[in-house]
């Protein structure tokens, strides 16, 4: 299975999903007008990855901004990871937020309250690529 790689743009995040290491990265901003189009390939990739997942999957989310249309899509990404975990694999979401960005911390807590995957909240100085 091939890794999924997108360069970040002013409206869409840098994406690097690596099936060998089980490292899934989403970094930067997610504020496109049509989030469903952007996230569809990511969700399809995870569905495929779920058939032969790494025993450990770490999802690094490090977003500076995301819009409400992305928020539903990000939830879908997490939801596709739940069955991988219930099949006995280790899945963790590492939710990064800037030290003074309480809103982003709350957003991570919102997801963690909905999704049945352990979340680690990680405080950072600044989102990369600003």
């Amino acid at each position: 299975m091939e890794p999924l790689k997108y360069e970040g743009t002013p409206k869409t995040p840098h994406v690097h999903f690596d099936p060998r290491s089980g490292l899934l990265e989403l970094k930067g901003r997610s504020i496109p007008e049509n989030s469903i189009d952007f996230y569809k390939p990511l969700i399809d990739w995870i569905d495929k990855y779920g058939r032969e997942p790494n025993s450990k999957t770490a999802v690094h989310v490090q977003l500076e901004y995301f819009n409400t249309s992305s928020s539903k899509c990000i939830l879908d990404v997490f939801k596709r990871l739940e069955p991988i975990r219930s099949a006995g694999n280790e899945v963790t979401v590492l939710w990064h937020y800037e030290a003074d960005d309480e809103d982003m911390l709350e957003a991570g807590e919102d997801y963690s309250g909905i999704i049945n995957i352990p979340f680690k909240m990680i405080q950072i100085a600044e989102v990369e690529g600003e």
Binding site: P10, K11, I31, P32, E33, N34, S35, I36, E64, Y65, N67, T68, S69, S71, K72, L75, K79, E98, D100, D101, E102, D103, E106, D110, G113, I114
Partner: protein, 188 residues
């Protein structure tokens, strides 16, 4: 012509007095939204030291512009050829105020949708910040997408970041359409 020229100074004066960061009226497309967001970000970076406030204002502007883009009614669509696709029309103004920032937007919408939007906004305005968060979370979790893809989270998110009540108004335009105005005060 001199009348028009005088108005240039008046316009400058008015924008200056109201501490307007940006004002735009016209058709919107994703590229133009990117340009506007870039401008807003640059201005905020130079005038707002508090990063949290900067992010909140930027987030509200993102949601408001995307609302204009997605929820827009072509008021003159009946007069135009069916194959001609017009960009969503809107007006936006962002100003610095005594208590923070004001993000004003306006667009045309179907008159038949007015009552639904009004009750949605009234419900939001009647909730405490904790209730808003609970409602946001419940709507996020329900797995439903709205026609614009947002699942009806936009206005709730705007209200959460504003920290105040949403000010809005509807002006009937013609038989089928109304003009919707929204003022979001982001307190800093």
């Amino acid at each position: 012509m001199s009348g028009m020229l005088d108005r240039v100074h008046d316009l400058y004066d008015e924008l200056e007095r109201n501490c307007v960061l940006l004002s735009f009226k016209g058709g919107l497309n994703p590229e133009l939204i990117s340009v506007i967001l870039g401008l807003v970000e640059r201005k905020l970076a130079s005038m707002e030291n508090d990063q949290r406030s900067r992010k909140r204002v930027f987030n509200v502007v993102v949601e408001c512009l995307q609302n204009l883009y997605h929820h827009n009614r072509q008021k003159t669509s009946t007069d135009e050829p069916a194959d001609q696709v017009r960009e969503p029309q809107g007006v936006v103004m962002i100003a610095h105020t005594a208590t923070g920032y004001s993000v004003l937007t306006g667009n045309f919408m179907a008159g038949s949708d007015v009552e639904q939007l009004r009750s949605h906004l009234d419900r939001i305005n009647g909730l405490t910040p904790d209730d808003l968060r609970d409602w946001y979370r419940a709507k996020l979790a329900d797995g439903q997408y709205s026609s614009a893809g947002g699942g009806g989270l936009g206005m709730i998110d705007i209200a959460r970041r504003s920290g105040g009540k949403l000010e809005y108004g509807f002006v009937p335009y013609d038989q089928d359409n109304a003009f919707f105005s929204l003022n979001v005060n982001v307190n800093t």
